[in-house]
Symmetry: C2
Subunit: 411 residues, 2 copies
C-alpha cells in the first residue's frame, strides 16, 4: 500500500514547484485561512520567486457537489500545471477533486463519485502534482455533500492522493479549541475504525483486477501499526492540545497523529462512525458549531463522527473483542479485571468519559436531532456502503436505527 | 517520505503488468531461485497470459559493478517496458540498476553512483515500472561491490524505488537456516541503526533544493515507528524462523519485519554497522558461508553487518542512551536496574547473547580477518560517508580501527 510523500515541519518551496515543472500554480484555501499567516507565507514565497499563481479561496467548509463544481470550473479555466492546497480536509478534498476533473475534462461529475451514488470509475488519466498542507494529505479520498440527495459521498482513488504532503505543526497554532477537539475526534475515529475494520483478507468480493481494488482495503498488518500509534498520541496529547493553544508539543503531536491515522485509514478504511456521520452532518438543521466561522448550519465532521462512537463500538466489539479492549486500555481504561465479553461497554464508557472531559455536546439530541429523524438518518447511511461494508459486523436497518437511537444522549 | 506500494501475501498478476501497460517484461532472478517454485509461479502466470518476457537469471549474490553492467546490457538490448524482480536484495538491487541505466542509456555508470566514489547525480529520467518480490522492495537503494576499488558502494535515489512490492511469506519457506538468520540480522541492524541514526533535523548540510536531499534523511518520527515495530518482531520471531523452516507464522512475521524495517531505514538511513560491513564483505578472502550456493568467497551481507554491532552500539550509545537502552529491553534485556550510562554495554551484551544463541561466527577473526587487515578495513569504510555521516557520533580513523579490533571476537 502507498502513503503520500510526507515532509515534516517544512513549508512549500519554490524548488518543490520547479522540480515538478510548475509554471502556473493554483493555490487553494478557504476564506478564513486566506487571512492567516500560513497562506501568507506560501504566497510570499511564490511572489518572491516569480512563480505565476492564482488564488482560489472559495473552498466551502464541509464541501458540497456545488462547491466542488465551482472549484473544478476555476481549475479548468486556469489550466494549471500544479496545485497547492493550504487548509484542512475541506480545502484538500476540494483541491483533489479540482485536479481530478480538470485533468479529465470530458468526465461527468458522477463518473468518479463512489458507487452506488456515482459510477465509481477507476481513474486512468494522469493528474497534475498537488502539494497539500494539511488535513487529508495522506489519503486518496475527497468527501462532499451531494446536495439534492442530502447525503455525503465522495471520490476515492489512489490517483488523487497528493504528490507531497506538508505536515507543519505551526499551522495548528491558529486553530480555536473546538476545531482542535473536533479534528482530534476525527483522528480518534480514524484510528479506532481502521483498527477494528474488517480484515483485508475477509473483504469481498475480491476484484479480479488489482486496479479495481477499493482505496479502502480493510485492516491489515501495516495500517494496524499506524492506527495503534495514532491512538497512543491521541490518548497522550489531545486534551492538552485542546486546552492550551500554546502547547506546541501537544499540537505538533496531534498534527502528526492526524497524518499517521490518515496513512492507516487511507488504506484500511473506516466504517460505521464515518458511514453514519454523513447523514448527521448532511441533514443538519440549525446547529452552528462554536468556533466555526461559517455562514451556514454546520455539524463539524469530527463531531458528527465521534457522537456515535460509543454505540458503534458496543455494537462491533463482539467481532474483535481483543482489539476493542486493547484500544480502551490505550485510551486509559483499567482493563486488568475486564472480561473480554465486556470489551464493547468498556470501550464505550472510556469514550464517553473522554468526550465528557472535553465538553462534547451530549449526543445527537444536543445538535438538533430527535427520534423522528432516525429514519432519515438511516436512509442517509444506507448508500455509504463503501465504508459500512468495512464494519466487522454486518448491520441491518434496524441495527442502524438502534445505533442512532443509542447515540441521542451520551452521558 | 514515501514508502513503496506494498501488497501483502499476493503474487504478481497479469493485470498488474497490463495496468502498467507492459508488453515486454524483463524477469530477473538468480541461478538458485530460478529453479524454485516462486519463479516458476511467475513464469507460468506470464506464459499462461501470453505476456512476452525474457528471463535474466545471471544475478550475482552480492552484486558487483561488473554484474550490474551485465544486467544493464541485457536490459538495454531487451528494450523492456516493465521489470519483475524475484529474489532477495541482490536481485532487486540489480534490477533497480538495470531499469535505471536502461532508462538513461547515455549516462556513465558512475553518474548515479554515490559520491565520493561516483558522481551521485539526481535521477531525472522516467523509469519503467518495477515489480519487486522481495528483499529490498521498499527502498530506493541498490548496493554493489566496486571491484577495482574493492569497496561496496551503491546508488540511492527515490526514483529507483520499486513501483509495487510483493511481500509473499510463502517465498521464505525455501530459505535455509543461515539465509534466514543472516537476513534477520540485516533486519535487526536496519532497525537498530535507523532508530539510533542522527536525527533528521541535525543532518547537515541542508540542501537548498529538496531534490538534492539524500535518500537517507536521518531518524525521524515516521521511521522511528517502523524501526521499533520491526525490532519487536525480530525479538519475538527471528529465533523461531531460523530454527524451524515450517514455522510459517515466524517466517511470515520476519518477512513483514524486513519490509517494515526497510520502510524505516529506507528513509532514515543506516550508519556504522552498514558502513563498516562493506569492506568486511568486499575484502573477503576465502570465507564461504554455509547454506550459500555460490562459486565465490562470500560473507553474507547480514553477517557482515551484525558482527560489528556490539562494538558499534557501545560506541554510539552516549549520544542517545535512552534509545539504546530501549532497544536492549525490546531485545529481551532486563533494564529495570540498568543505569542510563550503561546503555551501550547493556545493548552490546544483549546482542552478543542473541548472536551466540543463533550460532553466529565468533567475530571477524572467525571469518578470516586478523589485526593486520584493520587498516584496509578502515580504508574501505572511509568512502561510505553516505551512511557513516548518519552515525549519531562522529568517528575518527582511530575510532574505526578500535571498532574493527573490538569486533574480532564476540564471545
Amino acid at each position: 500500500m502507498a502513503v503520500s510523500n510526507i515532509r515534516y515541519g517544512a513549508g512549500v518551496t519554490k524548488e518543490d514547484l520547479q522540480n515538478m515543472g510548475a509554471k502556473n500554480v493554483c493555490l487553494m484555501t478557504d476564506k478564513n485561512l486566506s487571512q492567516l499567516p500560513p497562506i501568507q507565507i506560501v504566497m510570499d514565497s511564490l511572489v518572491k520567486n516569480g512563480i505565476n499563481f492564482k488564488v482560489y479561496d472559495n473552498v466551502r467548509v464541509e464541501p458540497t457537489d456545488r462547491s466542488f463544481m465551482d472549484a473544478i470550473e476555476f481549475a479548468k479555466k486556469g489550466a494549471f500545471d500544479a496545485y497547492v492546497a493550504v487548509g484542512g480536509g475541506s480545502t484538500m478534498d476540494t483541491c483533489k477533486a479540482a485536479n481530478l476533473y480538470a485533468s479529465s475534462p470530458h468526465s461527468d461529475f458522477l463518473d468518479y463519485v463512489n458507487a452506488p451514488i456515482g459510477k465509481g470509475k477507476p481513474v486512468s488519466v494522469p493528474l497534475k502534482p498537488l502539494i497539500a498542507g494539511t488535513g487529508s494529505e495522506t489519503t486518496g479520498v475527497a468527501i462532499f455533500d451531494y446536495e439534492h440527495l442530502k447525503v455525503k459521498t465522495g471520490i476515492a482513488s489512489r490517483a488523487i492522493k497528493p504528490t507531497l504532503g506538508l505536515v507543519d505543526p505551526l499551522h495548528t497554532l491558529h486553530m480555536p479549541d473546538r476545531v482542535v477537539a473536533n479534528s482530534g475526534f476525527d483522528v480518534l475515529c480514524h484510528a479506532l475504525e481502521s483498527y477494528t475494520a474488517l480484515p483485508y483478507h475477509l473483504r469481498s468480493p475480491c476484484p479480479s483486477n488489482p486496479i479495481s481494488r477499493p482505496a479502502y482495503q480493510g485492516s491489515n498488518p501495516i495500517s494496524d501499526i499506524w492506527a495503534v500509534h495514532a491512538l497512543r498520541i491521541v490518548a497522550k496529547y489531545l486534551k492538552r492540545a485542546v486546552r492550551n493553544p500554546d502547547d506546541l508539543e501537544a499540537r505538533s503531536n496531534m498534527h502528526l497523529a492526524s497524518a499517521f491515522a490518515g496513512i492507516g485509514f487511507g488504506n484500511a478504511g473506516v466504517h460505521l462512525c464515518h458511514g453514519m456521520s454523513y447523514p448527521i452532518s448532511g441533514l443538519v438543521k440549525t446547529y452552528k458549531a462554536k468556533d466555526y466561522n461559517v455562514d451556514h448550519p454546520l455539524v463539524p465532521h469530527g463531531l458528527s463522527v465521534v457522537l456515535t462512537s460509543p454505540a458503534v463500538f458496543t455494537f462491533t466489539a463482539q467481532m474483535a473483542p481483543e482489539r476493542h479492549l486493547e484500544t480502551a486500555e490505550i485510551l486509559g481504561a483499567d482493563t486488568r479485571t475486564a472480561r473480554i465479553s465486556d470489551a464493547g461497554p468498556v470501550l464505550a464508557d472510556t469514550l464517553r468519559k473522554f468526550l465528557f472531559d472535553l465538553d462534547v455536546d451530549d449526543g445527537l439530541s444536543a445538535i438538533g436531532y430527535c427520534k423522528s429523524d432516525i429514519p432519515a438518518l438511516v436512509k442517509g447511511t444506507l448508500p455509504q456502503e463503501r465504508v459500512t461494508k468495512l464494519a466487522p459486523r454486518p448491520q441491518s436497518e434496524e441495527d442502524l436505527s438502534a445505533l442512532f437511537e443509542a447515540s441521542m444522549k451520551l452521558y
